[in-house]
Symmetry: D3
Subunit: 139 residues, 6 copies
């Protein structure tokens, strides 16, 4: 049976910084550069979520995109959009807000709900600027 | 020998709807939402076709892109561009025009001709809107 | 007092055709080319609406973007998204659905509500494909 | 003599919020919505600066783009990139950080230096998200 | 009668350099920087041509886009695509190939044919990289 | 331990042609089409480099993006930007400048330095125009 990957994009705008509280400002600046600015900076993030499966004989869908969008908004976008990733987002507590760590956390937020909806989560892509993005495949 | 993937994009604009004739309008609306509008809607689709192979020692090409473009236009674009996918497209007869099913059908339209041209088709990506796309790898 | 132009984008996907009922199919094909396909085709349209004004001393806004978005959705997007422009859209009755005519009609749909919200509509830009768009300035 | 407009883009990522200190949190939320989040949010901003003039007979340039880029970086980008617009940016002191106000302030930062370089500043375009931007023409 | 602006994009890829034969290599390098490389460099250019007019009562068109595309290809694209702007392009003879000068020359190539087709050319926009473009309005 | 892929983009503008010195102009034209123009043509290229690894417990980074950018600029961009790929670029000596061959050569330029920086190079994507790109995975 043919397996198709389907991908949906959602977006959010958030503030964050890269800064370890156990490091001095000088050390943070040295390692994280301008990303360590104590007063925060921010980005327009794009999240691309990919689900694999065989298209349903009944509908032609791998997963209903409006259902996938709902899961993404409830589990991720509503919790991070127009928020401070380091201060306001429960699922990022205890993690430095690198794009890498954020992508892993988004995967964890999504996997159970997508599985429950009959899909198989295979990739989270998180774009931070037009020049960089990360991808996480769940392992 | 190094294997490179080369990808070419073509575009088409088409009408379609998601609607099963054996379902009531209410059931179609419930399952397919606004995509079930009886009078059709439409999209600008983008098709990205990826071919794998070792670059030729003679030309540096995996496949001649103008040949790949010609195959894509003759086998796909000329048949769907400015058409109604559900009424006008022979290779979609008997399939619901979900993006998933359309990507599989496009693969089937392309594989033989690309193989005959010395390439190995490895992916069809079909983008329906800026927020969603599907990918099919042929199995 | 400084005047700033602010622009908001919304998107819709719709079917249409270019075809005059008083012309033969041959004449329609000759003038409108593949756009005259009797079974329709479609596009992902992007609408960019520009409003001019002095930023409010109270809020810094020319117009509240969420209000502008609401007007655009209620007056345009909800009426054309996933519709057939020629069959389903009351505000296009009696007009050929060229991008030019559609932009003018969108202007007429928006002007009164935007004026009532305290803004001055100065441009409607309507993009039909990545290669063409029209702009209408209201006169 | 022919007048040509030349435009250069630079980008920055910054945090901000829309919030008046003399208003209650409830009032700020009512007027500014999720943009009023006390812990900030942020964006990837794009700044497009347009300069008009006759191309030099000696070089064919309206203005040297590397000089224009240098002015934009020194007068704007270096001061706002990876900063908090409301806390860190001297040229925004006393102004609510709406996109409108920020565009006006960027104009004021640029005009003198561009005039000194022999150009005529005619537009600042500031894009906050893919769905909204503002333009300021200096009056 | 309503006036609408319609814009069509075409693309070309070309080589060029910025270098005056009456200047020393050192002087060329000082003024034109890396653009003066004697062995050329190149770009993917995008040309956006805007035509103004009242939509025809007969067709809804300001100008037939396929006719506009044909004019653009015959007068510009076919002459510069996969060419060296400084060596191969007759309409650029005697002009330094700055983006500014190229936009003016493209206007001159287009104006007569567009007027003959019943349109009024109002803008040529020429994009050289994602970070810079020029616009020429014909005077 | 979670493995994340991180990708960074850099850009360059260069001239090249596809032409074998041991073939006649006619043969070159037949095989390489307009890409064989003796006076060169050019492109804006985009290079996307993907590195895989487990995010560092200390920083959350797979690899420091500013370090990755530095490697890309020193090993690739500074050597090809505003150059002629066939005449000026030592690492392309003896190879036809097809996009495929250029991607392989870029991989070879990057791999050692990225490994030394603690990363694992997994993909080079090279985009030549908006309609075509190649990807190389190192084998």
């Amino acid at each position: 049976m043919a397996v198709v990957h389907i991908t949906r994009r959602e977006r959010f705008s958030a503030a964050h910084r890269l800064s370890r509280p156990d490091w001095s400002p000088e050390k943070n600046l040295e390692v994280f550069g301008k990303c360590s600015n104590p007063n925060w900076h921010g980005h327009n993030y794009e999240v691309w979520v990919t689900v694999a499966g065989a298209p349903s004989a009944e509908t032609g869908f791998v997963i209903d995109l409006s259902e996938l969008g709902k899961i993404m908004r409830e589990q991720v976008i509503d919790l991070v959009d127009h928020k401070n990733i380091d201060l306001d987002v429960a699922f990022m507590k205890g993690r430095y807000s690198s794009t890498e760590n954020l992508a892993i956390a988004i995967w964890e937020q999504l996997e159970e709900r997508i599985t429950a909806a009959g899909g198989k989560l295979v990739k989270v892509k998180l774009q931070e600027t037009e020049n960089n993005f990360v991808e996480y495949h769940g392992e």
